[in-house]
C-alpha cells in the first residue's frame, strides 16, 4: 500500500483546527503601521483634486500617498497593466483606489481616510457590455477597444447542420456577478528586512507573480523583493490580481516601517475581482434520434473596468461552449468587453463554469422535445477516447466521461441498460 490513493492527515490540519496556523492577519512587527485605502464612489469620473491636509492633521496619521508617490510603474495586471495602483486623473470603476493613508493605528488610518477630500467630475459610465460593444460607444480605456478579445470557433457548416436537424432549441442564458467569498478577507504585511529587502506576507495564489508586480510598481530589482504566503484562507481565483500587495509595499517603502492592511468583509467585496457575468445566446440542433447536428453560440462576458484574465476566461468559455459532446458543425463567438462595472477575473472554473448553464439546459430541452431521457441524449453524444472537440483537438487519453455518467446514473437509481438505445452491449 503506497502513498498514492491514501488519505493521510494533512500536515496543516492540526494547526488550522487549533488556531495555531499563522495567517497574514496574525503577523505583527514592532513599530508596525496600518493602511487604509480611499476608493472611488463613482464608476467613472475625473479626479479634480485630492485634498489631504485635514487627514494629515489626524493624530497618528503618518502619510497620505497618491499616484505621484509611486516610485515605479503605476499599473498592475496579469495580462496588461491597465489597472492603476493609485488612480491619477480618472477613476474607471468604484474599485479604484485614489489615495492610501498610513497611520500608527487602524482607527487613525480610518479617521484619516474619512478626512480626505476628493473632488470628482462625474463622467458618463458604460454599465452594459452590449452597449459597450456598439460601434461609436465611448472607450473605457482610450488606448484600447472596448472589445478586449473575440474568439471565433468554426467547425463544419452550421447552416447544413441545422438543416439536418429535426429539432432546434434557441434560448438566451444569463449568469451573474459572483464574489469568491473566501473565508479570509485580504490581508498583507510588508516590511524592510535587515538587508533592506522588502518582504511581504500575503494571502495570495502565486508568490512569484506578486514579486513581479510589486517590483515593477516600486521600480526595484526582483531579487530585493520577497513574497511569502503563510496560511491562506481560500482563494478560488480571487487572489490572482493585486489587491493589497502593492499598497503595503508603497507604505513600507515610503515610511520605512512595517505596514499592514487587513480588509473588512465589506471592503473585501470591493477590492477583488468578480466572476464574469455572461450573456449566452444558444441555438442547438439534433436529429430525432438525439444526435447533435449543430451549435451556434454567442457569449459576451463583462470584464468590468480592467482586463485581469478576461481574454483567457472568454477563450475558455468559447472552447468549452459545446459541453463534452461531439458536434460536427459549430459556430461560436466569445467576447470580453470593458465596462465601468467592478472588474472581473479568475474564479473557480474560469469561464468554463458559465456555459454549462446554457449547454446542459439545451440538452434537456432537446431531450424533452424529442421525448427521450436526459441520460440518453447525453450518452449518444458524449466524448469518448479518440473523439474530436470543436477546436479539432483529439482526446487521446483518459476520457472517463461515460464512466462518470454510468456511475452517477446508477447511484441516482437510474438503469443505464434501459436508458441506452440498444443497451449496454453496444459500448
Amino acid at each position: 500500500m503506497g502513498a498514492i490513493g491514501a488519505s493521510p492527515a494533512r500536515g496543516d490540519a492540526r494547526a488550522k483546527v487549533t488556531g495555531e496556523a499563522i495567517y497574514p492577519a496574525d503577523i505583527v512587527f514592532p513599530g508596525m503601521i496600518y493602511g487604509q485605502a480611499i476608493r472611488s464612489p463613482h464608476p467613472h469620473a475625473r479626479i479634480v483634486n485630492i485634498d489631504t491636509a485635514a487627514a494629515l492633521k489626524v493624530p497618528g496619521v503618518l502619510c497620505v500617498l497618491t499616484a505621484r508617490d509611486i516610485p515605479g510603474h503605476n499599473g498592475q495586471g496579469v495580462l496588461f497593466q491597465d489597472m492603476p495602483v493609485l488612480a491619477r486623473n480618472e477613476v474607471r470603476s468604484v474599485n479604484d483606489v485614489v489615495a492610501l493613508v498610513g497611520a500608527t493605528t487602524p482607527a487613525a488610518a480610518r479617521e484619516g481616510a474619512a478626512r480626505i477630500k476628493v473632488d470628482y467630475e462625474e463622467l458618463p459610465a458604460l454599465l452594459d457590455p452590449v452597449a459597450a460593444m456598439q460601434p461609436g460607444a465611448p472607450r473605457v480605456h482610450p488606448d484600447r477597444e472596448n472589445i478586449i478579445y473575440h474568439l471565433p470557433v468554426r467547425k463544419g457548416d452550421v447552416k447544413a447542420g441545422f438543416a439536418a436537424a429535426d429539432v432546434v432549441v434557441e434560448n438566451t442564458y444569463r449568469t451573474q456577478f459572483l464574489d469568491h467569498a473566501f473565508l479570509q478577507p485580504e490581508a498583507a504585511v510588508a516590511r524592510l528586512d535587515e538587508r533592506g529587502h522588502l518582504v511581504i506576507y500575503v494571502a495570495t495564489q502565486y508568490v512569484h507573480w506578486d514579486r513581479t508586480e510589486v517590483a515593477r510598481v516600486l521600480g526595484w530589482n526582483q531579487d530585493r523583493v520577497r513574497i511569502v504566503a503563510p496560511a491562506v484562507g481560500g482563494a478560488f481565483g480571487g487572489r490572482e490580481d493585486m489587491t493589497l500587495q502593492t499598497l503595503v509595499a508603497l507604505l513600507a517603502v515610503h515610511t520605512r516601517r512595517p505596514a499592514k492592511m487587513v480588509l473588512s468583509r465589506e471592503e473585501s467585496f470591493f477590492a477583488h475581482s468578480k466572476r464574469h457575468p455572461m450573456i449566452m445566446r444558444y441555438k442547438t440542433g439534433a436529429t430525432r434520434e438525439g444526435k447533435l447536428t449543430a451549435l451556434e453560440a454567442e457569449i459576451i462576458g463583462d470584464s468590468g473596468a480592467y482586463c485581469s484574465w478576461a481574454p483567457n476566461v472568454l477563450r475558455k468559455a468559447a472552447i468549452h461552449a459545446t459541453g463534452p459532446y461531439v458536434i460536427p458543425n459549430v459556430k461560436i463567438d466569445a467576447y470580453a468587453v470593458y465596462t465601468n462595472n467592478p472588474f472581473t477575473g479568475a474564479m473557480r472554473g474560469f469561464g468554463a463554469t458559465q456555459p454549462p448553464l446554457a449547454y446542459e439546459s439545451q440538452m434537456d430541452e432537446l431531450a424533452a422535445r424529442l421525448g427521450i431521457h436526459p441520460f440518453t441524449i447525453r450518452w449518444l453524444n458524449a466524448f469518448r477516447q479518440g473523439d474530436v472537440t470543436a477546436t479539432g483537438q483529439v482526446l487521446e487519453s483518459s476520457v472517463g466521461l461515460t464512466e462518470t455518467m454510468l456511475q452517477a446514473a446508477r447511484a441516482a437509481g437510474w438503469s443505464p441498460d434501459e436508458l441506452i438505445p440498444g443497451g449496454m452491449q453496444d459500448e
Partner: protein, 334 residues
C-alpha cells in the same frame, strides 16, 4: 401538496492548466537527508486545497519513504522555485509532475550509490518502499533508507533533485479557434435531486451525486473534499448568490445581503471517484479543483425543470424567479 421533487443531470469537461500555449511551468527541488527523510521545495501556494499534502504523497511514493518523512516547504520567493499559480486545476498535475521528476533524480543518485552496496548491476534492479531499498525480485537483500542515505552522503553523494515540468498545449487559431488548447481534460457528471415549494418558490437541494474523472485520486479524502466544496459553491451560484450593482456600485457587500450557502443549505453529497489514468499525469492524476463545481448549477436547474416544468435561464434561481416562472406557465395554460 405544494412541494414537488425533481431530478436533473449535467455533465462537463474541463481543460486544465493555463492552456493555449501559455508557458505553464512548475519547478520543484528535493533533498534527501542523512536519516532518509526529505524536504521538497516548491513555489506552489497551498490555498487550503491541500497541495502541500498531495506533493508530500507524490514525493513519498517516488522516493520510497513514508509520507511522514517528507516536509514540503512552499510559497516563498526567496527559498522556493517558481511553480506557477495555484489556479486552473494545475498544481496536482504540473507541480505533482515536477516533484516526481525531482524525486526520481534524487532517488536515482541514491540508487547509484546503493547499487554497489547490494551488488546489483543496474539501478533498475532496485526498489524503494516505505523507507527500505531492496533488490527487485529478491526482497531479502535490502538496506534501510537511513543507512543508505547516510553512507551515500558520507561518500560525498549529494542526494538532490530538481524537476521542471511544462504542460503541453498549443495556441488556437485566432480566426477559426482550431487547435489543441488544453491538456489534460477532466470530466464529470452530477445528478441533483431538488424539492421545489410551489407556494413560496423555495428550492431545497436534497442530494447531489457527483462522479468525477480525476485520472487518479492521489488523496481520496482531498478529492471528496473538493467535490463537496465545489457543490457548495455551485448551490450558491444556482440559487442564491449575486453581487447586486447600482450604477456600477456593489450594494450588497456583506454576508447579510450577499447570501452564500450555509451547512443547512448543503445537500447530501455522494462523491464517486472515477480513475481513467492520464498517462502524462503524476501516477495518472489530472485534477478536480474546478471541475467539482462546474456541473452543479445545470444539474440543479435541470432538476427544477423536472420538478415543476419551468426553465430558469437567468441565475440565480431565486424564489421570486421561480414563482414568476410558475405564474407565466399558468398564464400560458389559461
Amino acid at each position: 401538496m405544494s412541494k414537488k421533487r425533481g431530478t436533473g443531470m449535467a455533465c462537463c469537461f474541463y481543460g486544465t492548466g493555463y492552456g493555449n500555449g501559455f508557458p505553464d511551468v512548475s519547478t520543484a527541488n528535493v533533498e534527501i537527508h542523512d536519516d532518509g527523510s526529505a524536504t521538497v521545495h516548491t513555489g506552489a501556494v497551498d490555498c487550503g486545497q491541500g497541495s502541500n499534502t498531495i506533493l508530500a504523497q507524490i514525493a513519498a511514493e517516488e522516493l520510497g519513504i513514508p509520507y511522514n518523512w517528507v516536509t514540503v516547504v512552499s510559497a516563498d520567493t526567496d527559498t522556493t522555485p517558481d511553480a506557477g499559480t495555484t489556479a486552473a486545476t494545475r498544481q496536482t498535475y504540473a507541480s505533482g509532475n515536477a516533484v516526481q521528476m525531482a524525486c526520481r533524480q534524487a532517488r536515482e543518485t541514491l540508487f547509484e550509490y546503493t547499487r554497489s552496496l547490494l551488488g546489483v548491476n543496474t539501478i533498475a534492479g532496485l526498489v524503494a518502499r516505505e523507507g527500505v531499498i531492496y533488490v527487485k525480485g529478491y526482497p531479502e537483500k535490502y538496506i534501510t533508507y537511513p543507512e543508505a542515505a547516510a553512507r551515500a552522503r558520507l561518500a560525498g553523494c549529494r542526494l538532490v533533485g530538481q524537476g521542471t515540468f511544462v504542460t503541453h498545449t498549443t495556441a488556437v487559431d485566432r480566426e477559426t479557434g482550431q487547435g489543441a488548447p488544453y491538456w489534460p481534460y477532466a470530466f464529470g457528471t452530477q445528478i441533483a435531486e431538488v424539492e421545489v415549494d410551489t407556494e413560496t418558490g423555495e428550492v431545497r437541494v436534497l442530494k447531489l451525486v457527483a462522479a468525477h474523472d480525476v485520472g487518479r485520486a492521489v488523496n481520496r479524502q482531498g478529492v471528496e473534499g473538493q467535490i463537496a466544496g465545489g457543490i457548495g459553491q455551485g448551490v450558491g451560484m444556482a440559487l442564491m448568490e449575486k453581487v447586486h450593482l447600482k450604477q456600477g456600485r456593489i450594494i450588497n457587500n456583506s454576508f447579510s445581503t450577499y447570501l452564500i450557502p450555509t451547512t443547512l443549505d448543503m445537500p447530501e453529497v455522494q462523491p464517486l471517484i472515477v480513475e481513467s489514468y492520464e498517462p502524462t499525469g503524476p501516477y495518472g492524476a489530472k485534477g478536480v479543483g474546478e471541475p467539482a463545481t462546474i456541473p452543479t448549477v445545470p444539474a440543479i436547474i435541470n432538476a427544477i425543470y423536472d420538478a415543476i416544468g419551468v426553465r430558469i435561464t437567468e441565475l440565480p434561481a431565486t424564489p421570486e424567479k421561480i414563482l414568476a416562472a410558475l405564474r407565466a406557465k399558468e398564464g400560458e395554460k389559461q
